[in-house]
């Protein structure tokens, strides 16, 4: 079995299968041949893929190998796993070592082949070392929550602050504050066993502990932490067995004065599918809401993030973005990343014009696609003529010019073919559209007035 044989087999499969099937099922397979060529192992990412490939494709793979090779065929074996590890894994920082966690988050779980519940249960803080109090931008909307978090970082386990529950909408910094507490605890006591995890991971780990009969290790692990940080507890909803286990863990920790920090997207009492006794326990300590940041805080966040990216963000540009993206910090940062990508790429100065350019469609009232109808309506309105005029055979200048502009805009803003555009303008020929586009280009170059009209229309159609 040679590399080349397998490559030829893949080439045939790629020809035979629809591209999407090939991408989904065949390309991710990793292949290892035994030294004597007697065995060929195909590694797939999980059990589901293994079963699927075995059902649908394995026979064909065998046939193809038979066609492509004379002589003895290797035995085909499908397995879950990977022949090579993914990226040089960042070594997770065990809690016992005070070394700062790597910039990139530690993997939550080692690659499949070495994974087992016991290794998962080894101390792995999973803390993101970039989420600190230092780079948390405070404002009216989150000052109380930040103060409470700071208090817990300095005096963990204090009655009245345990559990600390941070709740609020998405992208408001709950997870940031939670990690900041964890990092603060580690700084104070590098030997502290601080564990962060998403509620989904708690559920998944518990299920695999039950499956692997390691539930006692699981319990012991979570009950011996100094601080347990669980994100998005609303995902416990409807998962009764996990709630039960979490309830006991929770009680054990609280009894011994170990700190619990939780985040939730709403006030826990409002979560459907969460047991009453858990809801009430969650309220025993301090529950702090986090609200969407007000304008000044949004500006401060943008300035801070820009500074981290070593980009000079002028105030007026920061205000421009902050005034338009109000929903949450995550999306605010997403918009800034887009602006930064634009700056890096174009090398143009960062001003409002560039921001508008970079965020053009984000700033659109809705991310609607521009249609020819829409263009005709907007152009007719702009030139104060009727849509019917645009579609009519009339050729007077007062109608023909707007019509040409509308055609040029249709070509620029939609993917319709020129014959289609011609059709939409009262059944005109595509050469008429082509002529209109050339004419408008020429006019825009020759007349500032027409260029201005065109830009105005372009702006109102795309923002």
């Amino acid at each position: 079995m040679s590399e080349e044989l397998w490559n030829r087999c893949l080439a045939r499969l790629e020809d035979e299968l629809p591209a999407q099937q090939y991408s989904m099922w065949i390309r991710p397979l990793q292949v290892v041949a035994s030294a004597d060529g007697g065995e060929l192992i195909l590694f797939a990412p999980n059990r589901f893929i293994v079963d699927w490939v075995r059902d649908k494709y394995l026979e064909r793979i065998g046939e193809l190998l038979g066609e492509l090779q004379t002589g003895a065929l290797p035995t085909l074996n499908l397995k879950v796993g990977a022949s090579r590890p993914s990226r040089p894994a960042v070594t997770p920082a065990p809690v016992a070592t005070p070394a700062p966690a790597p910039a990139v988050n530690a993997p939550v779980q080692p690659p499949r082949e070495t994974a087992s519940t016991t290794t998962t249960a080894k101390h792995r803080s999973n803390l993101n070392s970039t989420f600190l109090f230092d780079n948390f931008v405070e404002g009216k909307s989150n000052r109380m929550a930040a103060a409470a978090a700071q208090q817990v970082a300095e005096n963990p386990g204090t009655h009245g602050y345990n559990p600390l529950l941070l709740y609020g909408g998405v992208g408001l910094g709950k997870t940031h504050l939670m990690h900041a507490v964890g990092n603060g605890l580690l700084k104070r006591n590098p030997n502290a066993k601080v564990v962060y995890l998403h509620s989904e991971r708690f559920v998944a780990d518990m299920i695999s502990a039950l499956r692997n009969k390691t539930i006692n290790e699981f319990k012991r692990f979570y009950r011996t932490v100094d601080a347990l940080l669980i994100d998005d507890i609303q995902f416990f909803a409807g998962k009764e067995q996990s709630q039960e286990e979490f309830f006991h863990t929770f009680n054990a920790l609280l009894e011994n004065g170990q700190q619990i920090i939780l985040t939730c997207d709403k006030f826990p009492k409002e979560i459907d599918g969460l047991e009453e006794r858990l809801k009430s326990r969650f309220g025993w300590g301090l529950s702090q809401p986090m609200e969407p940041p007000e304008l000044e805080t949004r500006v401060a966040i943008l300035k801070k993030k820009a500074e981290e990216a070593r980009i000079d963000l002028p105030n007026e540009a920061a205000f421009f973005i902050a005034q338009r993206i109000r929903s949450n910090v995550r999306e605010l940062e997403g918009a800034l990343k887009r602006v930064i990508a634009h700056v890096r790429f174009t090398g143009a100065p960062l001003d409002i014009g560039l921001v508008k350019d970079a965020l053009r469609d984000l700033l659109a009232i809705q991310a609607r696609q521009v249609s020819v109808d829409n263009i005709q309506r907007t152009v007719a309105e702009y030139y104060k003529i009727k849509i019917a005029d645009l579609l009519s055979p009339r050729r007077s200048r007062s109608v023909a010019r707007p019509r040409q502009v509308a055609m040029a805009l249709s070509k620029e803003l939609t993917s319709h073919s020129l014959p289609e555009i011609g059709d939409s303008f009262g059944g005109r020929d595509h050469t008429t559209v082509l002529h209109a586009c050339r004419k408008v280009k020429e006019l825009r170059e020759g007349s500032t007035e027409i260029e201005e009209d065109y830009q105005n229309l372009l702006r109102s159609l795309t923002s």
Binding site: A33, S86, A367, L418
Partner: protein
């Protein structure tokens, strides 16, 4: 076990980054490059159909694989018919590309699975590429947690190509197939045909067949004859 065999990459009609005609989408490529070099992060692309989303994602996955990383392309069209359980352990890839993501929007179990996959990938420092028909806020996702995460990185709308770029695309693709396509013939096709790359390439398929069957060069009369224009 002997040394493992790299995946064969027969590049179906050249779905590589080199053959991607970027036109006004240079900033997309600039954002993509560090992700392919192994930096963690994300990129969300949306556009009308046929503008090259799948091309970019496929090319990205192939390039990442060639650089020795584990990469996978998950087509939403394929996923939509299957249970979300199949995403298990996909967070072990270095680069994950999800195409036609909007086809999974509005399905609570899928949205939650994608949300968890996102969190795990982010925690592992993986790169994630998303492509959909609309921007994160307009693609129909019901789970706010997922929606805001998709918008947490750069979001780009793929811009349509200019006629010049479409001509370049068509000629480049023809050349890969060993066809000579003169500028004016390519221009003729672009002015008459649909102006999306995928529609033009479908025309090229038909022209290719027609020219081959008749052993003729691709001229304007031949194009007219082949496409009934």
């Amino acid at each position: 076990m002997s040394a493992q065999l790299p995946l064969a990459l027969r590049l179906r009609d050249g779905l590589t980054l080199e053959t991607f005609v970027a036109g006004a989408n240079q900033a997309v490529l600039a954002t993509l490059t560090p992700l392919l070099a192994g930096e963690p992060g994300q990129l969300y692309l949306y556009s009308d159909p046929g503008l090259g989303r799948t091309h970019l994602l496929t090319a990205a996955v192939i390039q990442a694989e060639q650089a020795g990383r584990r990469a996978v392309l998950l087509p939403g069209r394929e996923l939509a018919a299957l249970p979300p359980a199949l995403l298990e352990d996909f967070d072990h890839f270095d680069l994950l590309a999800l195409d036609d993501l909007d086809l999974l929007a509005g399905r609570p179990e899928w949205e939650e699975a994608l949300f968890h996959l996102y969190n795990r990938c982010r925690d592992r420092g993986a790169a994630m590429l998303f492509a959909a028909a609309a921007a994160p806020a307009a693609a129909g996702f019901a789970l706010p947690d997922l929606r805001s995460r998709l918008a947490a990185g750069p979001v780009f709308r793929l811009q349509p190509l200019t006629d010049e770029a479409l001509v370049e695309l068509l000629r480049g693709r023809a050349a890969r197939r060993g066809l000579t396509l003169a500028d004016e013939v390519a221009g003729f096709i672009v002015h008459r045909g649909a102006r999306t790359p995928s529609a033009l390439l479908a025309l090229l398929d038909r022209l290719d067949e027609h020219a081959l069957a008749r052993q003729r060069r691709l001229t304007i009369p031949l194009v007219k004859e082949a496409l009934n224009w």
